[in-house]
Structure formats: structure tokens, C-alpha cells
């Protein structure tokens, strides 16, 4: 019974995004908003795979997103076709996650800080002036030669649907159960026969793969970007907030978080652009004080229902 219900909500949310994709631009003629929304939802869900399931909080998560964009940009710069450039973006991001694997031996705040520091390292390497011939250094990269916003919009939708399905599969599988056990207690997981370093490593790489893909699409959509535009700590803060607001470890939580909060962010940003960081910051503060586990908790407490 429970299985049925969860599958239904997954199908429901996919249908919702398909309608959103087609009808959205009729109500609000700002395609960039919708593309960013879809990519943010993808990024939030991929972040959820590592944070929501295993409990590791990567404060430098935007590095995967940024490297995805840079992989794509570098591919275009050196004349690769779009497909290969896209794959290069994913490859760079996955490669970085493999390099970062030993970091998962750290726990809690130590991991978060180490990851933040490594993000800074990635940022300074990419934006280094001496690497200008490859990464464009501080001057950024142009992908305008392959600019095709409508195609990016469509692929973003497909990518989002894929990660929704992947999250569902993980959540239902023994693999997902093992990840949740790692989140709760690593020693007990090991004693239960779970190869902790292997499982969390796989989750980490899957997570980086989707973040890289989302980043590549973002780099493609922008047409031109410099380091801050794709390698920004703001992305990390956004997705952490979105995930926690909705409810980590669920499928719908991160999606609802993105839709609501990014919607509010965009609204406030357009109407009161000079105040938007202030208002958004206050909002996050209130959330963390009164709703530390997000909507998931409200549902559980007052309606006795689990968020799928």
C-alpha cells in the first residue's frame, strides 16, 4: 500500500513538472527563471542523495556544479561537439568527487569545513590567471557559439525527471536503506555487514554526477560565464536551505523547498531588489529557528503522515 502511494506521488510530481514546463512560460515570460528552477530542483535532489541519505553536509557542493559548467565551457572552447562537451562537464565533476573521496572519512562539522575549503581551492584554481588559455581565468568562458535556450530548457526537464526516478529507486532499495543506516551510526552499519566506505562513495559519485550535469546545462544556458557566476557559495546555501525546508531524505521535500523558496526569492528579488538578501536571510533565520526539519516535521506532527 505504502509503495503504491509513494509511486503515485512520484508520478504526480513528474506530471506536474511536464505541465510546468509547457504552461509556465505563458504566465511568466521569463524563461531563465524556469530553466534555473528546473536546474535548482535537480541540484537540490542530487545534494539530497548525499546529505539526505548519508548525513554528510558538503558546504562546498557548488564545486561540482561549477566544474560541470566549466567542463562544458572548456569543451566548447576547444571545439568539441555539444554532446562531448556535456560529457566533459560530467566527467570533470565526477573526477573531482573521486579526488574528494578520502574526505568522507571526516565526520560532521569537520567534513563540512574541509569541503568548504576544498571548494575555495577549486575556485582559485579555475579563476587563476595563468590558466586563462584553458579556463578563461578571471575573464570566464563563452558558450554563446552553441547557444540554444529552448533545447537546454527541454534537457533540464529530462534531467530532473531522471533524478526524481533515481531518488525514488534509491529510496526503495537496500542501497538506500544502507545509506540511511550510515547516516544514523557508521559503526553499527559496519557491524551489520555494510561496506560503509563503498556505499557512501557510490552515493557521493552519483550525487556529483547529477550536480555536474546540471552545471553543464547551466553553463550552456548562460552563454557566457565567469568564475563567480557558476562557482558561488550562494548555490550551496540555496540548496541546503531548500533541502532542509522541504525535508531531507525525501523525494518531494527538496522539490517543494525549491519551488517555494526559489519562487519567493525570485519574486522578492524582482520587486525589491535592494532588500532581497535581507528579506531572504530573515526568512531563512525564522525557518531554522522554528522549523529546523522543515515541512516533513509539520506533516508528521500535525497530520501524522510521512512526506514521500
Amino acid at each position: 500500500m505504502k509503495f503504491e502511494k509513494e509511486l503515485k506521488s512520484v508520478l504526480g510530481v513528474i506530471v506536474f513538472f511536464i505541465i510546468f514546463y509547457f504552461l509556465g512560460p505563458y504566465f511568466y515570460s521569463n524563461q531563465a527563471f524556469f530553466v534555473t528552477m528546473l536546474l535548482f530542483a535537480t541540484l537540490t535532489l542530487s545534494f539530497n542523495i548525499i546529505y539526505g541519505f548519508t548525513g554528510y553536509l558538503p558546504f562546498g557542493y557548488a564545486a561540482f556544479f561549477g566544474l560541470g559548467a566549466y567542463g562544458f565551457g572548456i569543451g566548447v572552447k576547444f571545439g568539441l561537439n555539444i554532446m562531448l562537451s556535456f560529457l566533459l562537464g560530467i566527467l570533470l565533476s565526477v573526477g573531482l568527487s573521486v579526488i574528494f573521496l578520502p574526505m568522507l572519512r571526516l565526520k560532521g562539522a569537520y567534513f563540512a569545513i574541509a569541503n568548504l575549503a576544498s571548494f575555495e581551492a577549486v575556485y582559485y584554481i579555475i579563476s587563476n590567471q595563468s590558466l586563462t588559455p584553458i579556463t578563461g581565468g578571471p575573464y570566464g568562458l563563452s558558450t554563446s557559439s552553441v547557444f540554444s535556450p529552448n533545447i537546454v530548457y527541454l534537457i533540464s526537464l529530462i534531467l530532473l525527471i531522471v533524478i526524481i526516478v533515481v531518488t525514488y529507486i534509491i529510496k526503495k532499495s537496500n542501497f538506500g536503506l544502507a545509506l540511511k543506516s550510515i547516516r544514523d551510526d557508521q559503526t553499527t552499519s559496519i557491524l551489520s555487514g555494510i561496506n560503509v566506505s563503498l556505499y557512501r562513495g557510490i552515493a557521493w559519485i552519483i550525487s556529483a554526477l547529477f550536480a555536474g550535469a546540471a552545471g553543464a546545462l547551466y553553463g550552456w544556458y548562460l552563454g557566457f560565464f565567469y568564475p563567480e557566476a557558476v562557482l558561488s557559495i550562494t548555490f550551496t546555501i540555496f540548496i541546503i536551505t531548500f533541502t532542509i525546508f522541504g525535508g531531507s531524505g525525501t523525494i518531494l521535500g527538496p522539490i517543494i523547498g525549491t519551488l517555494l523558496l526559489y519562487g519567493i526569492y525570485d519574486m522578492v528579488g524582482v520587486s525589491f531588489s535592494e532588500y532581497f538578501t535581507l528579506i531572504f536571510g530573515l526568512f531563512i533565520l525564522i525557518l531554522m529557528l522554528f522549523l529546523p526539519n522543515g515541512l516533513k516535521d509539520i506533516l508528521k506532527k500535525y497530520f501524522r503522515r510521512e512526506l514521500p
Partner: protein, 239 residues
């Protein structure tokens, strides 16, 4: 299972010193000893959480020293914790299911069946759907035991489970442990609670200063002068 000359030092102190120990494939074995005698270190070394400094562990004539703890769990070495650490944000059923799936390498349906059997055997079916963080510490001990048991281990090391129980609870616990032993699992109880030791009635090994000092039945042990000396101090024991 056999331990040969296992030693483990913490700083200058021997937690385990040249431990030779044979653990049979069936029956109940009991390891007692004063605090700091090395009992828990012994379980940590056998389960692979701590690496020994020297010596080796044999299982069916094969050395298992190089195996990481998750592999040891898969070949039938299970343990519980003195202070249970269940998966707090999972249900009791999921906690035990994890043992059946990963230690026991069972297929999903078999694992679910095994979980049900274990819940029944330990008498905790009524709390199956509760989250582990809602349980009392006594219930947590049973969840931890269930998780270890679900993998159908060859050896089950139970690290102090009887502390703070009443007379009737101890008898109940003892009956459950005997039931586990009847499944063909070799149970090793490590602890202090002499009432439970008496009830279980297996061979007792007394640990002192990092090595086994004496082995015998409950009656032999409690009347042994050396055992009395290590528990009460030389000056309080008249020969």
C-alpha cells in the same frame, strides 16, 4: 574459532596479553572479569573494530585478521554493544532488516521473513513500527540484539545486556538467550551480572589483567579463591 597469542596495548598498558582462547561452534560461553580486564577489547578485536598488535584469529582454520569488520559480519561474527547504538531514525523493523539483508546476505523477501521471526523470538513484535529513538534503553538493547541475530551468525557476542534488570527480567532474558543458542548459534555473553551467569549455566572464563585466568562452571568459579581475590582484594579473602 580460535584466538592465538592475541595482544593489544593501549600506551604502555596491555588491554589483552597473549590471549589464547577457543570458542566452540555451539553452546553458551560466558566471559566475566573486573572492569578493565580486557573483555570489551576482546570483542572489539574479534569483531575487527580494533586491530590487534600481534597474534591471530582463526575461523575454520583460516586466519581472519586481515578482514575488515563488515566482512567479518558477513562470515558469521556478530556482536552487540554494551551501550546499544541502533539506527535512531529507522524503525525497529528496519533496524533488524538491515542485519538480515547485509550480515545475513538474504534476499529481500527472506530477509523480511527472518526479521519477523527475530521480532517474535525476542518478543518485540509490538514495537516493530516504532522509531528506534522512541524506545527505552532496555528496548534498544533488544533491537541491537535482534539486528545482530537477524544475520544468522555463527558466533554472537553479547556485550553486557543484563545490567539493571529485575529478577524476572533476567530469567526472561536468559530464556531468550537459550532460545538463540538452540538455533545453533554459539553465544558468548560478556558481562558482570552473576545472576544471569548462573541462569545461563555455560562454561565461564574469568578475565584478569588482559588474559583469561581460569575456566570452569559457575559453581567452580564462585568458590575459587583466586577469583574471589581479584574481585574483593587479597586482604579481604581468607584462605
Amino acid at each position: 574459532m580460535e584466538l592465538k597469542k592475541i595482544s593489544k596495548k593501549f600506551g604502555e598498558l596491555y588491554a589483552l596479553k597473549d590471549v589464547d582462547l577457543k570458542i566452540e561452534d555451539e553452546g553458551i560461553k560466558i566471559i566475566i572479569g573486573p572492569n578493565g580486564a580486557g573483555k570489551t577489547t576482546l570483542v572489539n578485536v574479534i569483531s575487527g573494530i580494533i586491530r590487534e598488535d600481534s597474534g591471530y584469529i582463526l575461523l575454520n582454520e583460516n586466519k581472519i585478521n586481515h578482514l575488515p569488520p563488515h566482512r567479518r559480519a558477513k562470515i558469521g561474527i556478530a556482536r552487540t554493544y554494551q551501550i546499544p547504538k541502533p539506527f535512531m531514525n529507522l524503525t525497529v523493523q528496519e533496524n533488524i532488516l538491515i542485519g538480515a539483508l547485509f550480515s545475513g546476505k538474504l534476499k529481500k523477501n527472506d530477509a523480511i521473513q527472518r526479521t519477523e521471526d527475530v521480532l517474535k523470538m525476542l518478543g518485540i513484535s509490538n514495537i516493530a513500527d516504532k522509531m528506534a529513538n522512541e524506545l527505552t534503553s532496555d528496548q534498544m538493547k533488544f533491537v541491537d540484539l535482534g539486528r545482530a541475530l537477524a544475520g544468522n551468525p555463527k558466533y554472537l557476542f553479547i556485550d553486557e545486556i543484563g545490567a539493571g534488570l529485575t529478577e524476572s527480567e533476567i530469567i526472561e532474558l536468559s530464556n531468550k538467550i537459550k532460545l538463540i543458542e538452540k538455533e545453533g548459534i554459539s553465544v558468548i555473553y560478556i558481562g558482570h551480572v552473576m545472576r544471569l551467569v548462573k541462569e545461563l549455566g555455560g562454561r565461564v572464563i574469568v578475565f584478569n589483567n588482559g588474559s583469561p585466568m581460569i575456566e570452569g562452571t559457575y559453581e567452580e568459579i564462585i568458590n575459587n579463591i583466586d577469583v574471589l581475590k581479584i574481585y574483593f582484594g587479597e586482604e579481604h579473602v581468607k584462605s
